[in-house]
């Protein structure tokens, strides 16, 4: 029932949304919960296990009951707390966890069956017979499990991630946090004030009297307006700090656009990473429910929530409101409410015989609520006073069992909260998070003056820790009386008394867990699922713990708590992974020839983050194999052009550059003449191959190294480590220039002719013999030319500054086409190198040695190098190791597949008979059959033998012959020219 039409002092516009298809009118500023309550809709959802009718318990992000699904299509979001979601015109809200209409849920049969569905029901019931596990039980359980459902559609509105830095982060904008922020801001510190709710003020209201000359409920907003005017303060409302990490690092989730209709450029949420030098924790406290039979009906809510709905939204959640309270604070709240419109029939039931009414309401002292009635919403409560019971009509019942300080964030680095027996609260462990200073209600301080005092003191401590010398301004006058209270976890009465409303855990479940031996709080949690729902037991964990302590005859302090972990509130993966969807997951690295390649219709394949052409379809070609075959023949017959810029390129300079390479590579480079390139093999220190490539000497103290595309980053880090940590004695500097140079391979018998058509000064085989290198000019542009080959043909690699890459590539391909050649792609490149037995990271995959790939001869005996000692271990030189061989099918039509395993033909194909595996395959148009590289036990010793290749995954068996890994031009005459 709405009793006031203003919102924060101003009249508010009406807003229409739908709940389960029914039009509901609220007003600007409402949450879904407040709007539903204003329309007297109390039934909001069904509980997880028993499908009990449930309403709204709280007015904040701790809500366990009122979980709804909002939005449509890809923006549909399940398990949204109705107490947090603000309404906007056209918002669609539906309830969850029921089959059929919400008020006639077919799954409510579970509630009737509850005697059979207690704690551990799953573990006891779904055990036998074993054959039912996967076929019967799992589908059954999966169907019943889970709350809400995602749309399954991709896309939708985007979220963002953002970073912020400050001197002092204040978490929570209640009176404590505001006082802390004011103190820090006045001292000149950069302040971020983050508040989960959409308004400041926390739980402070009319019940708290005056702060200075302002009503307590108005103080926060007035001071917040002041804070906003200070340039060094950033106020972030709708922002929940979700996690605390090392060294002042905090995660926070901002509901940037969730309260507004979706629109372009409006992120739904923003996931913040905040780095703060110091922080003040002012997260307040959550009101503690009381367990008694039937305490879960719609209409039963926290007393503080009743006050919030009245104060903030002008909504009275019932016509006959009763409150079951054990503390003075609730009496003050009710006394303040009793003065307001709409709160005429208020009753307080207090178990303390000496309780005194503080205002105009009926008090039943020394009494307890022991039962409730009302199928879809509270209608009546049963009160026990002394030996007699009485019934009281009530459609709303407030619960006030005291306060649980919100200590969660203090536990994120591993600290456990400390039980304070006198105050009956868990308090933050001192020094739990370095630089995080708890203050106010989250620190167990409940009086208004105490909160202001602690907020200021925490800020002063933070400022001093930063080396500042702040003044302490005088605090406003306020009440310093926290009130008294009595602890009452559960009422002794017959019937199911709920602790965890979301997961349907009752006091009986916890006691049963204890009886069955699950006496550790962590075991009890997992056995009963207490605190494992989306709300993470914010309102129920402490109560469950107290029941467990009682059932096991221990104190709360020795029983201990479960672990609080981030996030404090649920965080959508969409927000946490913002920016990393689709292509955002991995940046795209494009070569300079990318546009020209696409223009030729080449399908692109990914090589790490790079994109390279797979093949270039020519007219009439319908399969990639046809294009690949043509390109291979073209390179062997005329000339082909391929972009090789993706290979790592590292400039190495210094008077010890040669010595440095000698230490990195297994072979020697210091003796390499200027103007020559050499193939080099690099090991890890454990003796296994890391990478290979050529390094060219451009000047006595200047080399340029190439790495494979895959290992470019790893090799660079390895070189940095080697130079800095192992060989700081060497005078050498190096820099990755992969992005700076565009490099193209021109390969084939006509490659020199093509090169000479673009070079300013023609070259011959004397100036550029095989493995020669040097500076040249192409169309007047200084360039580098290397005569190196990955195809087995005469070949040149020409490198120009990247800005000329596009023009040179187009020019080279056009000239190649005039010569009968053209562009080729990765498929052809792979076949060309396979025919030559050249290895890639398919072969040097991290588990092979130089010995395995037949390159033991490249391990210099004259010098030390990385991996030398380990490579000499006997186990790495065992002839029985899987060693590189070539394979060809015995039948020329036989199919070879990469990843297939090798067996002796007579052996059954079982793991223990495994002889090795295929790494790379290709169809050789020159040989007319498939060829493969493989690792085979005893490898080269078995040349000429027949082996069975078995690909169990694809169902392929092919008899193959072991051959040397070089299939074509074994003498290498074509490349040397």
């Amino acid at each position: 029932m709405r009793v006031s039409s203003t919102w924060q002092g101003e009249s508010a516009a009406s807003v229409t949304f739908t709940f389960n298809g029914q039009r509901v009118t609220g007003r600007a500023g409402d949450t879904v919960a407040s709007a539903l309550l204003a329309n007297d809709i109390r039934l909001v959802g069904r509980s997880f296990k028993y499908h009990r009718p449930r309403g709204i318990l709280t007015a904040g992000s701790e809500e366990p009951n009122a979980l709804v699904t909002v939005g449509t299509g890809p923006d549909r979001m399940p398990n949204v707390r109705a107490t947090v979601q603000e309404i906007y015109q056209g918002l669609e809200v539906v309830s969850q966890n029921h089959i059929g209409p919400l008020h006639r849920d077919l799954m409510a049969v579970n509630d009737v069956l509850h005697p059979f569905l207690g704690a551990g029901f799953y573990y006891k019931t779904f055990m036998w017979p074993r054959s039912f596990w996967e076929r019967v039980y799992e589908p059954l359980i999966r169907r019943a499990a889970g709350l809400g459902a995602l749309s399954g559609e991709a896309g939708g509105a985007t979220s963002e991630k953002a970073y912020a830095f400050c001197d002092v982060l204040v978490i929570g904008a209640g009176i404590t946090g505001i006082m802390a922020a004011l103190t820090a801001a006045e001292a000149g510190a950069d302040v971020i004030l983050a508040e989960d709710a959409m308004v400041a003020g926390g739980q402070t209201g009319p019940q708290d009297g005056q702060i200075g000359d302002l009503a307590a409920g108005d103080w926060s907003q007035t001071r917040l307006d002041q804070l906003r005017a200070i340039p060094n303060v950033r106020v972030m409302l709708r922002t929940a700090v979700t996690g605390v990490y090392d060294d002042g690092s905090f995660a926070a989730l901002e509901r940037t656009g969730l309260h507004l209709p979706p629109g372009p450029d409006l992120p739904r949420e923003t996931f913040w990473r905040i780095r703060a030098k110091q922080a003040v924790l002012a997260t307040g406290a959550l009101e503690r429910p009381i367990a008694f039979p039937g305490n879960d009906r719609p209409g039963i809510m926290m007393t503080s929530a009743i006050a919030t709905y009245a104060e903030r939204f002008g909504v009275v959640p019932g016509r006959r409101i009763a409150v079951f309270a054990t503390c003075d604070h609730a009496h003050r709240t009710i006394a303040a409410l009793a003065r307001q419109q709409g709160f005429s029939k208020l009753t307080v039931i207090d178990p303390r015989p000496d309780a005194v009414a503080l205002g105009d309401y009926r008090l039943i002292a020394g009494a307890e609520v022991i039962g409730t009635r009302g199928r879809l919403g509270l209608r009546e409560i049963t009160i026990r006073k002394g030996g007699t019971e009485q019934r009281l009509e009530a459609d709303c019942l407030g619960l006030s069992g005291g306060w649980n300080p919100s200590v969660h964030l203090t536990c994120h680095l591993g600290a456990r909260p400390v039980w304070d027996e006198a105050r009956a609260m868990f308090l933050p462990a001192p020094g739990a998070v370095p630089g995080l200073h708890p203050a106010g209600a989250c620190n167990g301080t409940l009086s208004v003056a105490g909160c202001l005092r602690e907020g200021q003191a925490a800020a002063l401590t933070a400022l001093r820790a930063m080396g500042r010398k702040p003044r302490a301004p005088a605090l406003p006058d306020a009440s310093d009386d926290p009130g008294r209270g009595r602890t009452l976890w559960a009422v002794a009465a017959k019937g199911r008394a709920w602790l965890d409303f979301a997961n349907d855990v009752t006091t009986k479940d916890v006691k049963q867990a204890a009886q069955e031996g699950f006496t550790s709080v962590e075991h009890m949690k997992r056995y009963t699922t207490q605190g494992m729902a989306p709300d993470q037991g914010k309102s129920s964990n402490i109560g469950a713990l107290a029941i467990l302590a009682d059932a096991t005859g221990r104190t709360i302090s020795t029983t201990g708590t479960t672990t609080f972990r981030p996030p404090f509130v649920p965080v959508t993966l969409k927000a946490m992974g913002a920016g990393a969807e689709g292509k955002g997951f991995a940046p795209e690295r494009l070569t300079t020839s990318h546009a020209a390649t696409l223009a030729r219709g080449a399908p692109m394949i990914e090589a790490g983050l790079w994109y390279r052409p797979s093949y270039f379809p020519a007219k009439g070609e319908t399969t990639w194999q046809q294009s690949c075959d043509r390109e291979v023949r073209m390179v062997r017959a005329t000339v082909g052009v391929v972009d090789v810029s993706t290979l790592g390129k590292i400039e190495i300079m210094g008077q010890d550059a040669g010595a440095f390479l000698d230490f990195l590579y297994t072979n020697t480079f210091s003796t390499l003449p200027v103007g020559r390139a050499r193939y080099g093999l690099m090991l890890r220190e454990d003796g296994h191959v890391m990478d290979d490539g050529t390094s060219a000497r451009l000047a006595p103290e200047h080399f340029v190294m190439t790495t494979t595309t895959a290992a470019a980053g790893q090799v660079m880090a390895h070189m940095e480590f080697t130079a800095q940590a192992l060989r700081p004695d060497l005078d050498v500097r190096f820099l990755s220039v992969t992005e700076q140079w565009a490099q193209f391979s021109v390969a084939g018998p006509l490659s020199r002719e093509l090169m000479n058509s673009v070079l300013d000064d023609p070259i011959d085989d004397t100036a550029f013999p095989f493995m020669g290198c040097g500076a040249v000019k192409v169309h007047g542009i200084p360039a580098r030319l290397f005569r190196i080959s990955f195809s087995g043909e005469r070949a040149y690699e020409i490198a120009v500054p990247a800005r000329y890459g596009d023009a040179l590539y187009r020019d080279l391909v056009a000239r190649a086409e005039v010569l009968g050649g053209g562009a080729y792609g990765m498929e052809a490149l792979n076949v060309l190198r396979l025919e030559k037995g050249f290895i890639t990271h398919a072969e040097i995959h991290g588990r092979v040695t130089a010995f395995d790939i037949g390159m033991q001869g490249m391990l210099s005996g004259k010098k030390d190098f990385i991996g030398k000692a380990a490579a000499g271990r006997p186990g790495l030189l065992d002839p029985a190791r899987e060693r590189l061989v070539g394979l060809k099918p015995v039948d020329p039509d036989g199919v070879l597949t990469a990843g297939a395993r090798l067996f002796k033909p007579e052996d059954p194909p079982e793991a223990r008979n495994d002889q090795g595996y295929v790494t790379s395959v290709g169809q050789s148009p020159n040989l007319g059959h498939m060829i493969a590289l493989a690792f085979l036990r005893h490898g080269p010793e078995r040349e000429g033998h027949e082996i069975m290749m078995i690909d169990a995954l694809r169902g392929i068996r092919t008899k193959v012959e072991v051959v040397p890994p070089v299939f074509f031009d074994r003498e290498g005459g074509r490349a040397r020219g």
Binding site: Y245, D246, D247, G248, S249, R275, L413, E685, D686, A717, E720, F721, Q724, A725, L726, P728, D864, K868, A869, A870, R873
Partner: protein, 87 residues
């Protein structure tokens, strides 16, 4: 976590990669017995408390650092350039 890079100042952990214990930079001589190389390559303590590790400021200045930190508290108590430790 923040790592105080001697060249860049305190920087976020996401700018760094960790290689492992400082052992990696104390390379045995080529002639050292197999046991020494085995220790160097494979054998590591798993300390609960202070340790010294190799970190690479890969998204920063490129320096390799020897970082002193506590595996229990995550407190970073110092960072030196590997180049200087090695000398």
């Amino acid at each position: 976590m923040l790592i105080p890079c001697p060249q860049c100042g305190p920087r976020d952990i996401r700018e760094f990669t960790c290689k492992g214990h400082e052992t990696y930079m104390h390379r045995p001589s080529p002639a050292a017995p197999p046991e020494a190389w085995d220790d160097h390559l494979h054998n590591r303590d798993n300390p609960a408390g202070p340790t010294r590790e190799m970190w690479h400021h890969v998204a920063g200045c490129g320096a390799w650092l020897v970082v002193e930190r506590n595996t229990v508290t995550h407190a970073v108590t110092g960072a030196m350039l590997a180049r200087e430790v090695a000398r």
